[in-house]
Amino acid sequence: MAIRFSIQTLSALALLLTLAPGMALSAPRGPDDFGIPQVAKINEKIRETWVAYELKPSQAATEGEWCRRVFLDVIGRIPSVEELQAFTKSRSATKKADLVGMLLFDDKYTEEYARNWTTVWTTVLIGRAGGTERNSLTNREGMQKYLRDCFARNKPYNDMVDELVTATGSNRPGAENFNGAVNFLAMKVNEEKGTQATADTAKIFLGLQVQCTQCHNHPFNEWKQQKFWEFNAFFRQTRALRQFVPGTRDVAGSELVDQDFAGEGGTPNTAEIYYELRNGLLKAAYPVFINDTEIGKSGFVNEVNRRDQLGELIQKSEYMDMSVANRYWAHFFGYGFTKPIDDMGPHNPASHPELLEYLGQQVREHSYNLKELIRWITLSEAYSLTSRMTKANEGDDPLLGETPKFTHFYLRQMQAEELYESLLVATRAAENRGSYEDQERSKTQWLAQFVMAFGTDDGGESTTFNGTIPQALMMFNGELIRNATDAKNGSFLWDLANSKMKPQQKIDYLFNAGLARRPTKDEIAIANQLFIARATGGGNKKKQVDPAAAGIAALQDIWWAVLNSNEFIINH
């Protein structure tokens, strides 16, 4: 009894000590979890692998780096100087949690939050080229309108999945019976018996790659050819009907409908499909979900609506929970728990299986509120670390083929869309951009230069944006950068040049705007030399120099150098 008492006293004392700031006696404490149990659990699980692999994490990122990272990953652009300074100057102990909360929940960020996640999910669902081809059955604006609405209202993820899988209606905004969600499947159901719808639905919402099992049993994973066609059978009532521009053969849009399916044997009460085995024999399949749940075999929509059933079954599957947790983790860290993120299962073990499962469960228990998932991830210890490696953790490099241990932040290129939005905000060009639709159209046009569509049935495409010469040329000389470094009256640089700031403050301002940090001594020196060079006509003594123009020209040079740097284009 006496012993017990003394322990209680001691622990009460320890609690007091840690609560009292500035006390010298505080015990070494774990990473901050902001009082959020999910954050604490993430920290615990990530630390377990560090211990297991005898790795030491890097230091924390600077406040500026962390702030830039959170802005980029949550709302798709870097912070403005004002936003950055509001964060770095705050003395609040909860300022990190406050910033994340503000980006997620404050009305003034709702539009940017929705825009960012609309961009991310549009790429996932229909690719960067989806809907841009002539006579496409996909309407890109319709897809974006639907997603924007989901994210602006923070629609629960399971509802979004259900709507995308079961949608019927017209694909373009303004059309009668418009339902933007149909654009996910509109191009995937008519051709090749809907095999593309099958493969994409399994991959995107369940994290399962099944496309190879279309023709044969997969050599490595548990999927069998039979499973593929059983899953495929859910899509066989569905058609995308073309709608033409009156009097022409041009496609105006499409309508996704569910129709009675007679089956390939012509018996609609038990509408079966057939697939060919490697040895040439035909085999029948009926709709059966991946966990062997069977539904009615009828092909009549009023008896069994196969996609509605599928939507229900996907929502019940833990694979849906894990796949979204994995996708979001990868969004924030550059690497998910499996590689690729949409190929989960026993054949491809996860780097942190318990954490993956836990996060999936938590997403389900929190009503599929994706903002909660974002909050847990962004406030985790791993997300707070610098990208600078140490001797003790430089082996933790997924580029080396190692599974990620998250001992430091992995560098990754900004996405093209992030660069675009960042430049508009950094140069305040975002203030008069026209309607949302106009903005998105100009962005899509600009993006087209970096998209290569392969023209294959699976909508394959690649981007030439990531760290290539065309990207560098665009950053050197492209219109976007010319506009960002423009010096005409009323431009960002003109305002800066004509502000009351001293030259040194202007240099500071540009480094903060681009890199979320102040310039180093050497950088200040070289910036000053640029001021001198411009003021003296670049060494050309015969040239008359207007001092005001020279001041702006020097700022142009500095800003150009900042924007073209690795530190700018790489999320670090």
Partner: protein, 423 residues
């Protein structure tokens, strides 16, 4: 003051010398310039190049290179005789006159019938693997030949009208330079005077190096590397190789005025400029329906004109002995004709074409059975094609790469040379 809008009169060497001299204005010395290659003359010159004609989507090789007339899988086309000892499709009449320059490997047998995986496998010789990204043809070949091309200022790996595949663990310095077939490179003009550009570059270099020095990983130094290459390219006179419209009208017309024709013509110009690897993309082969109409009226006329022009031109200019040409897609199409008069994905028995650079032309290597569903002779793979092309270019098959995890990997994934091509 000179303007970069008209780079004539100022070559890259001249420009780089200015860059090197930038330290004179008390700006820290530049490291952006090319490494000096003073020992250039001592290196053995290897002028060999490779051109890959990439048929995105998976072309039906049974309807082009390995016809089975009169069988239930054979489809609608008839074979015709050629200048070589092989027959090909009647819809390839111009190519028929060039077959003495090319061999058909009719015993390809692979396992990847998914576009993404097939694309990766045929470009790298490896199946996709979550733990390592393998370098593609263009990266491997330019990596192995670059030291023998000290004068090359433009990227050694160019892809025209398509994305090709990436450099994998070799790093972004070996990434494909993707261009359109019209030869206009976007954003090439800076519109700044030379001196001011140098000063900007000096400031940029400082920020760039600061970030690299902080041990943040490969991406930081890769970026620095790409900046160097970009600067070199912006000021290079070799960029004129991309301008296909400078060719005589009749030459352009012989290749075809479509994108693929222009791309093949550009490939020949790039070979002359010393570029070791060029890929030209022709898409639209994913013919799940209406295949015979699409082939005979759309794809094959385009392919026939440009591919035959390329062989003819390379031969006339005496370049064929130093230039390997490959034709392939990610896989082929089912012998069985489906209900929509189409063919689906098929990798088990199909053909690729290779010629030039000393490889035997006019022959068929291996064969398939009577309905094209099985390979009857020794099956060949992506690795074997790659090994053969490497051999034709004089690249040692003993070459071993070390992935960044330290795993040694033999060039072409230890593929075996297809001996009939060299007998």
């Amino acid at each position: 003051m000179k303007s970069f809008a008209t780079p004539q009169g100022m070559n890259r060497r001249h420009f780089m010398s200015h860059l090197a001299g930038a330290s004179a204005m008390t700006i820290p010395a530049l490291t952006m310039g090319h490494t000096l290659r003073t020992h250039a003359q001592e290196l053995k010159r290897n002028k060999k190049s490779a051109i890959m004609l990439w048929m995105s989507g998976g072309p039906s090789t049974m309807d082009i290179w390995d016809l089975k007339p009169g069988t239930n899988t054979g489809g609608e086309f008839q074979p015709i005789s050629t200048s070589g000892d092989v027959q090909i499709s009647e819809h390839m009449p111009m190519m028929a006159k060039q077959m003495h320059n090319a061999a058909i490997i009719r015993s390809m047998s692979t396992r990847e019938a998914d576009h993404g995986r097939g694309r990766y496998y045929m470009h790298t010789g490896y199946v996709p693997n979550p733990n390592v990204e393998h370098p593609s043809y263009g990266a491997v070949i330019s990596h192995e030949t670059i030291d023998q091309r000290p004068e090359l200022e433009i990227p050694p790996f160019v892809t025209v009208g398509g994305g090709s595949e990436g450099p994998g663990f070799l790093g972004m310095a070996w990434a494909p330079f993707a261009v359109n077939s019209n030869g206009q490179i976007r954003n090439l003009q800076m519109g700044l005077d030379e001196r001011r550009l140098m000063q900007r570059m000096a400031a940029l270099d400082l920020v760039e190096k600061g970030f690299v020095s902080q041990r943040r990983g490969q991406a930081a130094s890769d970026h620095q590397n790409i900046l160097k290459k970009t600067l070199a390219l912006m000021t290079s006179e070799q960029m004129k190789a991309f301008r296909v419209t400078e060719e005589p009208q009749e030459v352009q017309e012989r290749y075809g005025m479509d994108n693929f024709g222009k791309g093949c013509l550009m490939a020949r110009r790039l070979v002359e400029a010393g570029v070791p690897f060029i890929e030209v993309d022709l898409g639209g082969w994913d013919m799940h329906n209406d295949i015979f109409n699409t082939l005979s009226n759309q794809r094959l006329p385009v392919l026939d004109r440009a591919m035959s022009a390329l062989f003819e031109d390379l031969e006339q200019r005496g370049l064929i002995e130093d230039t390997a040409v490959m034709w392939m897609g990610e896989f082929s199409r089912t012998p069985r004709i489906n209900g929509n008069t189409g063919r689906d994905h098929w990798a088990r028995s199909w053909s690729v074409v290779a010629g030039g650079a000393g490889m035997n032309g006019g022959i068929a290597v291996g064969n398939t059975n009577s309905d094209g569903t099985r390979v009857e002779t020794e099956p060949y793979t992506s690795q074997d094609v790659m090994a053969s092309v490497c051999k034709s270019l004089g690249i040692s098959l003993e070459t071993t790469f070390t992935s960044r995890s330290g795993r040694p990997m033999k060039i072409a994934n230890s593929g075996k040379v297809i001996k009939e091509l060299f007998a």
